[in-house]
Amino acid sequence: MDPFKVIIVEDVALEMKGTVEIFRSEIPEAEIVGTAMNETELWRLMRDSQPDMVLLDLGLGGSTTAGVDVCKQLRRRYPDVHVLIFTGEIMNEKLWVDALDAGTDGIILKSGELLTKGDVQSVLNGKRMVFNQPILEKILQRFRQSVINESMRQEAFLDYDIDEYDERFLRHLALGYTKDMIAGLKGMPFGVKSIEKRQNDLTNRLFGEDHEPVNATRLATKAIELRILDIDNLEPDDE
């Protein structure tokens, strides 16, 4: 690993101490060109020195999330400097996304292994999306869930014998299209009557033969419940 310059931004002194120690003991290649406990100090340091990387805590000064804004500004003003977020916001997933949107190279949670040499190395090598174990676990969890949903969707397609037209019909129904509009979709080979028949047929499949009267809304909702429709990707056909 090549020597590199780093600026540590941390608003809690005791934590700063620990972080500095981590660098000293585990990442000796790093030259700490400065530590900043607030924004003013950071911008002064940025002006005075040319760091390769800024290790940024999200809480700064009074604000607990100012780091997001700071990250954004760093990205704008110093596009070559790597920014790694190092934060104790272990529960706040929304904040992580905000930080990623702000252009950070990675997020390291102050939990578990804390900052490792490998992570820092990755960032310096230009790798994006560098996360430590706890955050990866969270990401994996979410990923798993979405994959499960996807597979449930496939299952549902098989279980209820849903074809391409069924899916399109249900999706546009959920989007509030009328039957006329659906019949008029590009590549939809059915008239309104057929569509109505298809709707009845679908209703019977989804609700079983003995069901109470079901309107279009309930049908669409049921389709979402059964994962036939992906509620996160509910978009009309490209016309």
Binding site: D11, A66, L95
Partner: protein, 1421 residues
């Protein structure tokens, strides 16, 4: 000629009318005659004998009058003398007629006429009057009064025609009389025509008599007359072959008959006639000769004619009829002339003349003109120069009853006799006199009479025409006046009515939102209406018009005033309703306000909890770093002792920091604990159970059945938390009970506590789990239940699992609050496979009020069974109170009695709305009676009467009027006789008959006038009637519901104008809705009506169908001309509406709008408003409760966290310190493992609790609203003022002007932020002013609070917003610097819930060296 015809036409028309009326009169007379007859019959049997006697005497008299006048006079005198007082007037009248006949025979014609006229005037018997008329005819015949003859003849004709119609009911005597009079009439007529030589008339009468011989077949007198007349006639009729012979035969028959019957009169006539016949050269057959001689019993050689004449003269002298005697004398004179004995002939005539003179003198004497009589003597010849003879003077003089024929006969004979004797002058004289007399009694009398009649008619007609003319002029004038007046009246009425409606509209506008109570309402209503009402009804000036009795007014005023009164009362009722509404609204608003304040407070606490959570979150990184260090110590085998020592040193510092933070947290929790108090109250569990039962849907979906058992338990606890606990337990039960299972919620009561249990038939838990749940304060809930067979199932359902922990925490909190809550307990009973029961115990509460209410209701129920008898008791009490003069008490008793009746009514008609009142506008009992309800009306009548008496004594007018009105009405209702109507109708009929008769009596003008008045009256009455209907309608409508309204309208409108159907249409409330309409009955053309109503709605004006039958009236919102509430549609049977009907129906529509608006729309609006307010109140309440529960739970978690984790850091600290104390650092693995174990466990507990607390934060409480900088400035000022009072400082706040700057944020949070900043300012007590400036940069609004004097220590500034800055001051038991933390937390919240990150909060000393600024930024909206 033309003129005459026209007159005749008019005459005909008039006569036609008269005839039409005549029929009526006849009917009337018929009725009267019947009545008289009835009276006669009813006079009894005793009367009959007398009547018969009189009748027979009359018959005798009438028979005797031709035989002997003395005898006849005897009979007549007997009747008139003996029976003068007899009620049998007809008999007396008949006698009177006979007397007249006798006078006539004696030639006392004036006396005869007096007799006949008397009968004509006094008798109403048509028959007798007819007889009198006929008698008068014969008198007129004798006196040669042709005109009068015809008059009497036409009268007789009419009378006889009348009698003809009624001849069926005649007595025998009357029938005889009837036959006689008919015969007489025709005979007299015939005689007249014979005398007047009118052959046509004679022939007509003769034929009639011939055809009706049966009428006088048994009547010898009339037979005789018939014969005589026929004989005279036959002589006259030249067509007869042997007229003389026929006449002789008739005369002989007459002679023999009259001799047989003793009819001297006709015997004389027969003798004389025969003598004349013989003298005139009629050959007498020898057989007849002998027969006549035998008849008269005179044989000898004297010529037969002389014998006959002498005998006639003898008989005539005896009989006493001078005329007949004269006739005989003339015959004798003729005989002597023929015999050449002129002097004898002259002697005869002198005798005749003497007879006349004697008669004249006798008449004159009776008429007391004796002197004149002495000079008025007829002489056979007077040589005077008088141009006018004495006879003519007599004839012309109306005072003298002269018989011209008689004198003419004598003069004629005298002239013949003188002529025979050759005395020309004497003969001429007599001849002239004779001609004069003839001329005076000319023959062309029919023409004469006709002309006379015509003249009479013309006169009458002229008179009538005049009357008509005047009547028409008067009528036209009256009609003109009437029209003018009625138009004026009508205009006046319309003006009045529209003014009244105007007042009503004003009244309706009085209901504003400012009215708070009844007094205000009355005042407002009066204020708006008094002046108008006084202008309309000057008689109420100076009085409270609403208290004026409308009955005291008259005519239109009365009705209109009544309209006003009814409307006023209704408006007042509505007003009271609205007051009630607004009171309710205010109550809701104040409740909402309370909840809002609570919510605000809860949110403030929430933000504090959040802040303390941030402390907890602040600890986590330290813990993680500590764990990291330990990890390094464990894994880094190559670490130098130096490094190890450094690590231990760092570890020590971390633990110190953790302890420090824990300390702050501990103090924070402790200090703030007092702020989060439990809301303890007594409450029934029932409503909560009900609420939970409603939530059973989520159970249904899962296929689990939820049973909530009823409970009456009352507990003492925190309601919101109790609900939260039950909800938590039920949620758990639902989650862990598989489909088909059961969950049961119930409460059991013991002496001291109420145990609420949630039992399920789920998988159950192992004993270990149960033990953990029951005994551990902190546990990893994710592990509970995962060791059983259904582990995977449970894991899938697993929530975050803090529910039970929270429940336990709450129970723990109760226990800490007060000894009363020592009974509180939370527990679990469970066995694997058998389900679980979770329960908690709460102390028993008491609901004192509830118990009282229950008892009260029971009492009421008991009373309800006995209300009618108790009403009776009250009635007695009222009576006694009145007797004793205790009137107030009587009224109180009456009120109680009325309540009894009402209760009885409600029992009969549940939810009935007609309730009796002591006083008011409605009369419930009348409605009861009408609806056929069974109650004791007699008793009610009695009570009303007594109340009226009492009210009268107390001078309470309205009470009196109401009660007496109810009394009267109910009394009349209960005493109605169903036959009364029939009777009234009869009376009416009779009256109408009378009126018709009166009209028929011919007062045409009166008819016209009556019609005029009737029309006028009808118009007024119709108007008033319609008004009454209108008022009735109002009354009915006021009690109708929206559904029944069209029916009520239909019923009442039909009284004004018959309608098929009445419909109402209401426009849609929003665009997606449709018009709503309702029609009465079956409507065939509903679509047509609806479309017309819709067009009326759109055009905002009345729409009328082409045939005028269907009319749609738009109903405007009161006080506006362009807002239509709905449409009233009416289909009339008759499309033509009178002006006043149209007006009234228009008014109905107008009133309907006012009514609908206030009854439905306004009420709907207000109900909707109330509902919204109620919902809003509920929402706020729910929200504040949720925040409250959340705060409580967070508080619990933090408190537990503090207690449970206090031990670990200290223990670790001890170990680390020991390790560090050794300078050689004999750090072994054992120590590191110990620390690792402790730290790991600590971290675990910490994580559980902080996650639990953190869960409560996840639900967003942030309420993002738009706020202007100016708003925030105002908020700051208010806060400043509030805190300034506390501090009593003299400083001020200045807010910079900033318009248009808008930010988004949570108002309560911002308020809290400002409060904290300002509290810091006051804490500093720098003496400087506070300035608030705004700035905007990069999408953030910057708020800078500048303390113009205070400056921070530069070193402190970076640390201000950190936990490190929070210091516990043991002396004041406060935490300094906490405000900064709270402020930071609030800004963080805004940062998180606005669309963008980057809100700042910081403090800086001003560059100019003057003071410092507290700055925060918020996202611009």
């Amino acid at each position: 000629m033309l003129k005459k015809r026209r007159k005749r036409n008019i005459c005909f028309t008039f006569a036609h009318i008269i005839r039409l009326m005549g029929t009526q009169i006849r009917i009337l007379f018929f009725i009267m005659t019947q009545a008289v007859l009835l009276c006669l019959v009813s006079c009894g049997e005793g009367m009959d004998a007398q009547q018969r006697e009189i009748d027979s005497l009359n018959v005798l008299a009438s028979q005797a009058k031709y035989r002997s006048l003395e005898e006849a006079t005897g009979y007549v005198d007997e009747v008139l003398g003996k029976y003068a007082d007899s009620p049998y007037r007809d008999g007396l009248h008949e006698a009177m007629l006979n007397r007249g006949d006798i006078y006539g025979m004696q030639m006392e014609y004036d006396s005869a006429q007096v007799c006949y006229r008397q009968v004509l005037e006094t008798s109403n018997n048509d028959l007798l009057c007819g007889v009198a008329d006929v008698d008068m005819m014969s008198v007129c015949l004798m006196l040669s009064m042709s005109k009068e003859f015809y008059d009497y003849r036409s009268d007789a004709q009419e009378r006889l025609a009348n009698v003809e119609e009624e001849k069926e009911d005649m007595t025998e005597h009357q029938q005889a009389l009837w036959s006689a009079v008919q015969t007489d009439y025709h005979m007299v007529s015939m005689n007249y025509f014979i005398k007047m030589r009118q052959d046509d008339g004679v022939l007509e009468e003769s034929e009639w008599l011939e055809q009706h011989q049966d009428l006088f077949a048994t009547d010898s007198v009339r037979q005789s007359i018939y014969l005589f007349l026929t004989s005279i006639y036959n002589v006259a009729d030249k067509k007869m072959v042997d007229a003389g012979d026929e006449m002789q035969r008739n005369l002989i028959r007459l002679l023999s008959m009259s001799r047989q019957n003793g009819n001297v009169y006709y015997e004389i006539l027969a003798l004389n006639g025969l003598a004349k016949s013989i003298m005139s050269g009629g050959e007498l057959k020898p057989s007849r000769w002998i027969f006549i001689e035998e008849l008269i019993g005179e044989f000898g050689f004297a010529p037969l004619e002389l014998k006959l004449a002498n005998r006639a003269l003898r008989l005539a002298k005896l009989y006493g009829n001078d005329f007949v005697q004269t006739t005989v004398l003339v015959t004798l004179s003729d005989y002597y002339l023929k015999a050449g004995e002129d002097s004898l002939a002259f002697v005869q005539m002198e005798d005749a003349l003497e007879l006349i003179n004697q008669h004249h003198q006798k008449m004159a004497r009776t008429a007391k003109r004796a002197q004149e009589a002495d000079h008025d003597v007829l002489y056979a010849y007077t040589n005077t120069n008088d141009t006018i003879s004495t006879e003519m003077r007599w004839i012309v003089n109306p005072q003298v009853v002269a018989v011209p024929e008689w004198m003419a006969m004598v003069r004629e004979q005298l002239s013949v006799v003188y002529g025979a004797r050759g005395l020309k002058a004497e003969s001429d004289y007599n001849h002239n006199v004779y001609f004069d007399i003839l001329d005076a009694t000319r023959q062309d009398l029919r023409v004469l009479q006709e002309e006379d009649n015509l003249k009479q008619e013309e006169h009458t007609l002229n008179l009538l025409l005049w009357v008509f003319g005047i009547a028409i002029v008067v009528l036209v004038w009256l009609l003109f006046l009437y029209n003018k007046r009625s138009r004026e009246e009508y205009r006046k009425k319309v003006r009045m009515l529209s003014k009244v409606i105007e007042v009503c509209k004003h009244l309706s506008s009085a209901l504003s939102d400012d009215i708070e109570d009844e007094e205000d309402l009355t005042e407002a209503l009066h204020k708006i209406s008094d002046a108008d009402v006084e202008r309309l009804f000057p008689q109420v000036k100076g009085k409270d018009w609403t208290k004026v009795d409308y009955q005291t007014m008259k005519g239109l005023d009365k009705e209109l005033f009544h309209v006003l009164l009814v409307f006023y009362e209704w408006m007042r009722q509505k007003g009271l309703q609205y007051i009630h509404f607004s009171e309710e609204e205010q109550r809701l608003e104040s409740e909402t306000y309370v909840f809002e304040k609570r919510l605000e407070e809860n949110k403030r606490q929430y933000i504090e909890k959040l802040t303390s959570m941030s402390i907890v979150n602040g600890i986590t990184p330290f813990l993680d770093r500590a764990l990291h260090e330990i990890n390094k110590l464990k894994t880094d085998k190559n670490a130098t002792p130096e490094t190890i020592r450094e690590r231990f040193q760092y570890l020590s510092e971390l633990i110190d920091k953790i302890n420090e933070y824990n300390d702050v947290l501990g103090h924070w929790v402790k200090i703030r604990q007092g702020m989060v108090t439990l809301n303890i109250e007594n409450f029934a569990l029932k409503p909560l159970f009900e609420m939970l039962r409603h939530g059973s849907k989520s159970f249904d979906i899962k296929g689990v059945s939820l049973a909530v058992e009823d409970t009456e338990a009352v507990v003492k606890a925190d309601k919101s938390l109790t609900l939260f606990m039950m909800n938590t337990l039920l949620d758990n039960a639902r989650k862990y009970t598989p489909a088909g299972g059961k969950v049961n919620l119930y409460a059991t009561e013991t002496e001291t506590y109420v145990e609420v249990s949630v039992a399920d038939t789920g998988h159950g838990m192992s004993a270990e789990d149960v033990d953990t749940l029951n005994n551990s304060k902190v546990y990893d809930s994710s592990k509970i239940g995962t060791d059983g067979a259904n582990a995977s199932d449970i894991k899938q359902n697993k929530g975050f699992g803090f529910g039970l922990m929270n429940c336990k925490g709450i129970i723990g909190k109760y226990k800490k609050t007060n000894a009363v809550f020592n009974v509180c307990e939370f527990g679990v009973e469970s066995e694997v496979g058998k389900g679980s029961r979770f329960f908690f115990r709460l102390p028993k509460g008491v609901m004192k009020l509830m118990v009282c209410l229950g008892l009260l209701m029971q009492c009421m129920v008991m009373k309800a069974e006995v209300h009618l008898p108790s009403a009776e008791v009250y009635a007695d009490s009222i009576f006694n109170a009145n007797v004793n003069g205790d009137y107030e008490q009587a009224i109180i008793y009456a009120d109680s009695a009325i309540q009894c009746f009402n209760r009885y009514y409600l029992e009969q008609v549940p939810k009935g709305k007609c309730l009796m009142t002591l006083e008011g506008a409605e009369m419930a009992e009348i409605e009861w009676w009408k609806s056929g309800m069974d109650t004791d009306y007699e008793l009610i009548i009695g009570i009303r009467n007594e109340v009226a008496i009492a009210a009268l004594s107390l001078n309470r007018n309205s009470l009196y009027h109401y009660n007496s009105e109810v009394f009267t009405r109910l009394y009349k209702l209960t005493s109605t006789d169903p036959t009364l109507e029939g009777y009234c109708n009869n009376i009416k009929m009779t009256n109408r008959n009378k009126k018709t008769t009166a009209i028929l009596l011919g007062v045409l003008l009166f008819v016209v006038l009556a019609t005029y008045f009737f029309l006028h009256y009808r118009n007024t009455q119709l108007f008033i009637f319609n008004l009454r209907q209108f008022i009735q309608l109002n009354n009915n409508v006021f009690t109708a519901t929206e559904q029944t309204l069209p029916d009520v309208l239909h019923q009442n409108l039909s009284d004004i104008k018959t309608a098929d159907t009445v419909g109402m249409m209401v426009p849609p409330k929003d665009s997606s809705d449709q018009f709503w309409s309702h029609f009465t009955g079956v409507v065939a053309e509903r679509n047509v009506y609806e479309s017309m109503m819709q067009s009326a709605y759109r055009q905002q004006k009345e729409v009328v169908s082409s045939n005028g039958r269907f009319r749609a009236y738009p109903m405007f919102v009161p006080g506006s001309e362009d807002k239509v509430l709905g449409v009233l549609g009416v289909h009339f049977i008759d499309g033509k509406l009178q002006d006043e009907e149209s007006l009234i129906i228009n008014l109905v529509a107008q009133f309907m709008s006012i009514h609908s608006y206030f009854s439905y729309h306004k009420v709907d609006e207000m109900s909707e408003l109330l509902e919204l307010k109620q919902d809003e109140r509920m929402r706020i309440d729910n929200e504040q409760q949720k925040v409250y529960v959340r705060n409580q739970i967070m508080d619990n978690c933090l408190s537990t966290l503090k207690h449970e984790t206090m031990y670990y850091p200290n223990r670790i600290k001890q170990i680390v310190d020991v390790a560090l104390a050794d300078p050689h650092a004999p750090v072994n693995e054992e120590i590191i493992n110990d620390i690792d174990e402790l730290l790991s466990y600590y971290k675990e507990v910490f994580a559980i609790l902080s996650t639990c607390a953190g869960k409560q934060v996840e639900k967003v409480l942030f309420k993002r609203v738009q706020l202007s900088a100016q708003d925030i400035g105002e908020m700051a000022k208010r806060s400043f003022k509030k805190q300034q009072k506390k501090m009593q400082g003299k400083t001020s706040i200045k807010v910079a002007d900033e318009k248009g700057l808008m930010i988004q944020g949570d108002k309560i949070f911002i308020q809290t932020l400002l409060d904290n900043i300002i509290s810091l300012y006051f804490e500093h007590q720098s003496g400087g002013d506070l300035l608030l400036n705004f700035d905007v940069s990069d999408g953030f609004a910057k708020f800078a609070f500048t303390d113009t004097a205070f400056r921070y220590d530069e070193e402190d500034i970076p640390q201000l917003f950190y936990i490190d800055n929070v210091k516990y001051d043991a002396k004041s038991d406060t935490l300094s610097g906490a405000q900064y933390m709270i402020c930071r937390q609030i800004v963080r919240e805004h940062d998180a819930y606005s669309a963008r990150r980057g809100c700042r909060i910081y403090v800086e000393n001003n560059d100019d060296g003057q003071g410092s600024s507290f700055i925060f930024t918020l996202p611009v909206s």
